[in-house]
């Protein structure tokens, strides 16, 4: 079944785009529900996977817009990257490493939230989800050249924010 086949990828993308662990399952349900309702419009011009990812991206964009309206500014120590599992649940070498990851995760989240939504989405799709430029162009409904230039600008900004840790 398509839900079972794609659910983990959808979960992963939603989490990376929203950084909200609690909202992931509800949003994923919305994604598959919306996909079911829109399936008659799927013309097969792209792969089903990129079509489903486009629905996922749009669902997350709508969610983050709503969240932005009621956002409370949090500090880095609150770890806006979500409730990172405690070291005992992680496959890490040491608690120090887990803490370091947690702090880095917070910094990365802060850096990501400083760039525009489309650049952030493209960066996540490429560097975390590992999609090709062509797949990203289909999902974002833009030319490959646009993917290339937005990715360059996103990386430029992130690099500046993380320079001390590189």
């Amino acid at each position: 079944m398509l839900v079972l086949k794609y659910q983990q990828q959808v979960f992963s993308l939603i989490y990376r785009l929203t950084s909200d662990r609690q909202a992931v399952e509800d949003l994923a349900q919305d994604v598959f529900h919306n996909a079911y309702r829109a399936i008659r419009h799927f013309q097969g011009k792209s792969s089903f996977f990129t079509w489903l990812y486009r629905i996922t991206v749009n669902t997350c964009i709508n969610f983050t817009k709503q969240q932005r309206l009621r956002r409370v500014i949090t500090s880095v120590e609150d770890n806006p990257y979500g409730d990172v599992p405690s070291p005992s649940h992680q496959e890490v070498d040491s608690p120090e490493r887990a803490l370091e990851n947690k702090q880095l995760a917070g910094l990365i989240e802060k850096a990501l939230s400083s760039i525009s939504e489309d650049k952030r989405t493209i960066l996540i799709l490429r560097d975390i989800e590992g999609l090709s430029y062509e797949e990203i162009a289909e999902i974002m409904d833009c030319p490959i050249g646009t993917v290339r230039s937005r990715l360059f600008r996103a990386r430029e900004k992130i690099q500046v924010k993380l320079r001390a840790y590189l």
């Binding site: 979960f11 992963s12 399952e25 349900q29 979500g82 890490v92 560097d127 430029y133 990386r155």
Partner: protein, 207 residues
């Protein structure tokens, strides 16, 4: 190649998205430009850091009941949008309204359940139409009650209609009678006329 143009290409370079000509030009520039080489290393390090931290903070996994929840939500949505079930004889709008009105009155007079009245009216309608249409037309009359039952729209969309220059009727039976008359020369909708209609709708093998 100037450094500004190079820097834009570095991002695509680390993704292996440059063509061979661009790669050659970029490599030639990098050989002589320390600043761009450093920029390239920084880009790679930033990408690697992003991936390492992302993998160290795994995404949540779907619960075992997730797919069942999705299917349930879809089923509930389908139910809330489902059109009222209508019998085949009520699918045609004018006829449907007639039978709906009849059922409402019969329900009031006889105080019988609507389902029983629907089945009785359907049986009556089949009987009447069977009596009206004779010979080979009976078989095709039965096709009226199937999913492929023609409507006014489908009749007027038939290619033959345009050439016949039929007057536009509002009653389906009248329209078909006109069509049968014009296409077969038969004055009434029976026998050969039904065959002609069936041949148009279902192909030359229909009989």
């Amino acid at each position: 190649m100037r450094c500004l143009a190079t820097r834009e290409q570095l991002s695509a370079f680390i993704d292996n998205e440059l063509d061979s000509q661009e790669v050659r030009a970029l490599n030639a520039h990098l050989e002589g430009c320390t600043s761009c080489r450093q920029e390239l290393e920084q880009l790679r390090a930033a990408q690697m850091l992003l991936r390492e931290v992302a993998f160290a903070v795994p995404a949540p996994k779907p619960s075992v009941h997730f797919s069942a929840r999705v299917m349930q939500a879809i089923a509930e949505d389908d139910l809330s949008h489902a059109p009222q079930a209508r019998g085949p004889f009520l699918a045609e709008p004018a006829l449907g309204r007639f039978w709906e009105a009849l059922l409402e009155r019969a329900h009031g007079w006889l105080r019988l359940p609507r389902y029983a009245l629907s089945m009785a009216s359907l049986a009556l309608a089949i009987g009447v139409l069977t009596m009206v249409v004779s010979g080979g037309g009976v078989k095709f009359a039965a096709s009226w009650f199937g999913p492929q039952r023609p409507t006014l729209t489908t009749v007027y969309k038939l290619p033959q209609i345009a050439s016949l220059k039929m007057p536009r009727e509002t009653d389906l039976e009248e329209a078909l009678r006109e069509f049968a008359y014009h296409s077969s020369g038969e004055p009434t909708l029976e026998g050969g006329a039904w065959v002609a209609l069936a041949q148009v709708r279902y192909g030359a093998g229909a009989n």
